[in-house]
Amino acid sequence: MLGFILRRLLATIPVMLVVGFFVFGLLSLAPGDPAAIVAGDQASPEDVQRIRASLGLDQPFLVRFGTWGGRILQGDLGTSLFTNLPVTTMIAQRIQPTLSLMLVTLAIAVSLAVPLGVVAAWRAGRLVDRCVMGFAVLGFSVPVFVVGYVLAYVFAIKLAWLPAQGYAPIEAGVRPWLASLILPATTLGCAYVALIARVTRATMLEVLQQDYVRTARAKGLGQGTVLFLHALKNAAIPIVTVIGIGIALLIGGAVVTETVFAIPGLGRLTVDAILRRDYPVIQGIVLLFSFTYVLVNLVIDLSYTLLDPRIRY
């Protein structure tokens, strides 16, 4: 088990290397010159050239990549081209809203999607099932920003139940914190709920056909115990897997959601950094996201041993 964890952690290094290389390469190919943006509209070509040299942007690609990669191995993500702050500091300043948004979305989505999927499978073909599946299609096909603006219009502007924009840090109290996150989390969670509910339903449909479910019924157990203990525990692995894969969906969606709801998180930081061609910041955030994703998948693989006694590493 410990060996497995170590091996998996070591395996993240080449993954990170490849991710880093691609991000770095893509940004080098992208049009736009940070030196020109830093220098401003009034700068002369010589100024721009001077700034470019001071930022190290006049070096060949591989040299720049090597320098950057070397620093990262020492835990240094570099310095922003614009604020001159270390990238780690900038990320640290913005991580709480994004982390909060993700966790609240995860909690809402899982606690909603799994029961919905279970009930849909139990009542397969009936009205409940059709409603859940209809919602799933809708949740998946309507873009995040549309859902966001509609929810904000109805619940924040018309009904005035919740704030329309902004983020209240958790230090200011749990209630305002949660209130500021409900609409963004619902927005972000729509596609996620749809994904989890569909997979839950499909897996449960298969599990409910199994002999041991019949055995459970033959014992006189109630519907709830049969569905949520005997069946759901057997269906857990695909469901947990898709919850993990969906984290990628959340990371992508967070960028849009934070923009719609004006939340000062990593998503906003990413957008701003891209617009300003702030390479170190973009690279730092992308690395952080992919590292998180790799880590989440490791945790999911480890959770399999808890869910199914037949799986051992």
Binding site: D211, A218, G220, R310
Partner: protein, 330 residues
């Protein structure tokens, strides 16, 4: 009063291409402590009959008629809440497939203890202690350790013992055993049968044994009911049935069992007698005798008129126009 009395049970399944008459007017009784074997080919309705007793069939698709009286109460009329108090408690079941009938992600102790907690209100610790007792009762070595094991850590025979432990945990009055030995090795089969016979005496449960294995029937049953195409075609005490099978289908079944030293009559040496033809589709209505299409003795009369189940000798029922009848009326 008998423990279980099934009266004119009909179970019809609605399918996209017509109604499947899986069980079509079957009546029988089981007394306390008695072992009734239900014999027949695959698809004759024996498993559907047993699953109807526990009402484990998908209910909107399966439509019931008739009555299933257990200790005087009609199970078909009970609300689901009441039915759940009977399942696993007064009536329990051992399924055919020990490899797939246990939940792979729960310990066997939990699976045995579950019924005890549900029906007898034991707490987790008491239930586990009882589970250990049950495991040793069904002959599993090191029950204290095995109670924490998962099904995949056990062999097929052991798992079937666990299934039996689950079924007997609440001392049921009726145990339904649906081909309990079919999936097991022959040597294990004998052990499981011995175990069931032994436990029957200890617990005093009546057994309804579903099987297509006449060897098993001869070994454990008191009475036998032969089913064909959703109907009961013959019923008798076990010795009586083996000595004088009245229905041509029963005779056909017995002829299809290999025996050492005995050659099937009128056949090439070494070949088993087979019943020609196929079981009729349960989706078309049959007016005459259901077995007429495959019966060596069938006359035109048989194809037009369904034979009634009648007493051919005391305690021996058969549904055949030409089955020999004892001179002395029953």
């Amino acid at each position: 009063m008998s423990l279980l009395s099934v009266e004119n049970l009909q179970v019809h399944f609605r399918t996209p291409d017509g109604v499947n008459r899986a069980v079509d007017g079957v009546s029988f009784e089981i007394g306390s402590g008695e072992t009734l074997a239900i014999v027949g080919e695959s698809g004759c309705g024996k498993s559907v009959t047993s699953m109807s007793i526990l009402r484990l069939l998908p209910e909107p698709q399966a439509q019931f008629a008739g009555a299933i009286r257990f200790e005087g109460r009609d199970l078909l009329a009970l609300p689901d809440r009441e039915m759940r108090k009977i399942r696993g408690n007064a009536i329990s079941v051992v399924f055919q497939e020990p490899m797939t009938s246990l939940n792979p992600v729960l310990t066997v102790g939990r699976q045995i203890g579950e019924t005890l907690r549900l029906h007898q209100g034991l707490d987790a610790r008491q239930a586990e202690a009882r589970a250990v007792e049950m495991l040793s009762l069904v002959g599993i070595p090191e029950p204290e350790r095995r109670v924490h094991a998962y099904p995949h850590q056990m062999s097929g025979g052991m798992r079937q013992r666990v299934m039996i432990a689950i079924a007997l945990a609440c001392s049921p009055r009726l145990l339904i055993a649906d081909e309990p030995t079919t999936a097991l090795d022959v040597t294990i089969q004998a052990q499981i049968l011995d175990l069931m016979r032994d436990l029957k005496h200890r617990v005093g449960a009546a057994i309804m044994l579903i099987t297509h294995d006449l060897g098993v029937v001869a070994e454990v049953a008191d009475r036998v009911m032969v089913m064909y195409a959703g109907r009961k075609v013959e019923e008798a005490a076990v010795a009586d049935l083996f000595r004088t099978p009245r229905h041509p289908y029963t005779r056909g079944l017995m002829g299809a069992v290999p025996r050492l030293g005995v050659r099937a009559q009128g056949r090439a040496p070494g070949r088993l007698a087979e019943i020609p033809g196929m079981v009729p589709s349960l989706k078309t209505r049959i007016d005459g005798c259901v077995f007429a299409g495959r019966c060596p003795d069938a006359k035109d009369f048989c194809r037009l008129h369904a034979p009634a189940l009648e007493s051919k000798s005391p305690g021996h029922l058969a549904a055949c126009h030409f089955a020999p009848k004892d001179a002395r009326p029953a």
